[in-house]
């Protein structure tokens, strides 16, 4: 018979159970990555949430595009055609330079060649609401052969890398995230360094640069390809501020990301050296 006044578990024991469960789950996740499949399945059904939350913004932009006059569209078309001609001309020169670079590197017996990367366009569908994490959601996932660690760029520079892949979407960690670092080199002189996120939307820090290093304000930092994660030669940041306090053996170097991290709606997934679908 069911007792009339059932004795419920005490609050302390329930508190203990909750903390025990939490500790067990954290241990299983960290030690054995045991929750990866659950994350994958539930993460795969999260896409509609991001799409719905992004819908008003998309509606506004599509309506504003629809209201553009014919005259402005013709003008934009002309401007784009002119730009395309210039880019085509530059590409011809780039092909010649690339071939020459390859020959010179072969003469130097260097294996660090600029790869012929394949690129797939992805659309931004959401931004992480967590103010301490600089992460984006894109509309390409395992179905499009996206993989963890894949470099992501936009038209102007390196954006970040893929950290989680779901069936139809993926999560991208931006280079400004505190947990992110990229091996770079100064484009002017090849000096190698590591640029790391500091948790600010438009600032990166160049780590451990010696006080006597040849570095100037305005220097362009490109990915060095060391570590094998990011292909060589993509623009990462530009040096914005150098401070030498006279005591520390290192310079304090601030840089600004080249990519338009808070504006780009379309991102490019890089498949290094033709490793694409």
């Amino acid at each position: 018979m069911k007792p009339l006044f059932a004795q419920r578990r005490s609050l302390v024991s329930r508190l203990f159970i909750v903390f025990l469960l939490a500790a067990a789950l954290v241990a299983v996740d960290h030690l054995f990555n045991g929750l990866a499949s659950v994350r994958y399945i539930l993460g795969s059904i999260s896409k509609p949430y991001y799409q719905i939350s992004n819908a008003p913004q998309q509606l506004v932009s599509s309506v504003s595009e629809g209201w553009q006059s014919r005259e402005s569209l013709v003008l934009e078309n002309q401007r784009l055609k002119a730009r395309e001609r210039i880019l085509k001309a530059k590409t011809q020169k780039l092909a010649a330079l690339s071939a020459e670079n390859g020959r010179l590197r072969a003469l130097l017996n260097s294996s660090a060649l600029l790869g012929d990367d394949d690129i797939v366009v992805a659309e931004l569908i959401g931004i992480s609401p967590d103010i301490n994490r600089y992460e984006l959601m894109i509309n390409k996932g395992a179905n499009d052969e996206v993989f963890v660690g894949q470099p992501v760029i936009d038209a102007t520079g390196l954006v970040g890398q893929v950290t989680d892949v779901y069936q139809y979407s993926a999560r991208v960690m931006l280079i400004t995230d505190e947990r992110h670092a990229v091996p770079v080199q100064i484009n002017r002189n090849g000096l190698r360094a590591v640029v790391a996120g500091v948790g600010l939307p438009d600032e990166l820090a160049l780590m451990n640069v010696g006080a006597t290093a040849d570095i100037k304000q305005g220097d362009l930092l490109v990915s060095s390809g060391l570590g094998g994660r990011f292909p060589i030669g993509y623009p990462v940041a530009r040096v914005s501020d150098i401070v030498q306090d006279g005591i520390s053996p290192f310079l304090s170097v601030k840089t600004k990301p080249m990519a338009q991290l808070d504006r780009s709606r379309y991102l490019l997934l890089v498949f290094p050296d033709g490793n694409s679908q």
Binding site: R14, L25, G43, Y49, Y50, P129, E178
Partner: protein
Amino acid sequence: MIMGLKGGWLIVITGLFIPLLQVWPLPISLNVWRPLFPVLFIGFWAYILPGQIGALIGFAYGLLVEFLLGSPLMQFALPCALLALCIEMLYLKLRSFSLVQQSLYVGVLIFVILLVTYPLSQQALGVSVWSIAWRSAVSSIIIWVALILWFEPMARKSIFSLDA
């Protein structure tokens, strides 16, 4: 279990709707004030149905939201469970309070819970837990007032109304 309740559909619908509020894009200046909606959701339903929506359901729901949104482990699960537990413990006191007292009480609870749990979920990040906790507590107070004023009558009606 929840669907077995009369009006359980309302809990499920609000539960499905909450992650949308959590990912809704906001400008950075407003985003820092975004409360932890899943925690408020569990707190609210624990207040309406004490003894039925408790720590374990809160924990399970928080975990579900974490997996769904790719959030760090224990960002929502522990706060949800702890708030449900506190509300169950302080239920009679909360019921006797005025709306302002009640919302302040909930705000303080959320503030303390976040101070304890946020460093656990964010591990390596050198975040200012203090500023996150008080901002989240202030916005939770405002939303709690709105929930009790506008949503509580409907929730009670759907859960406790007698069949004709």
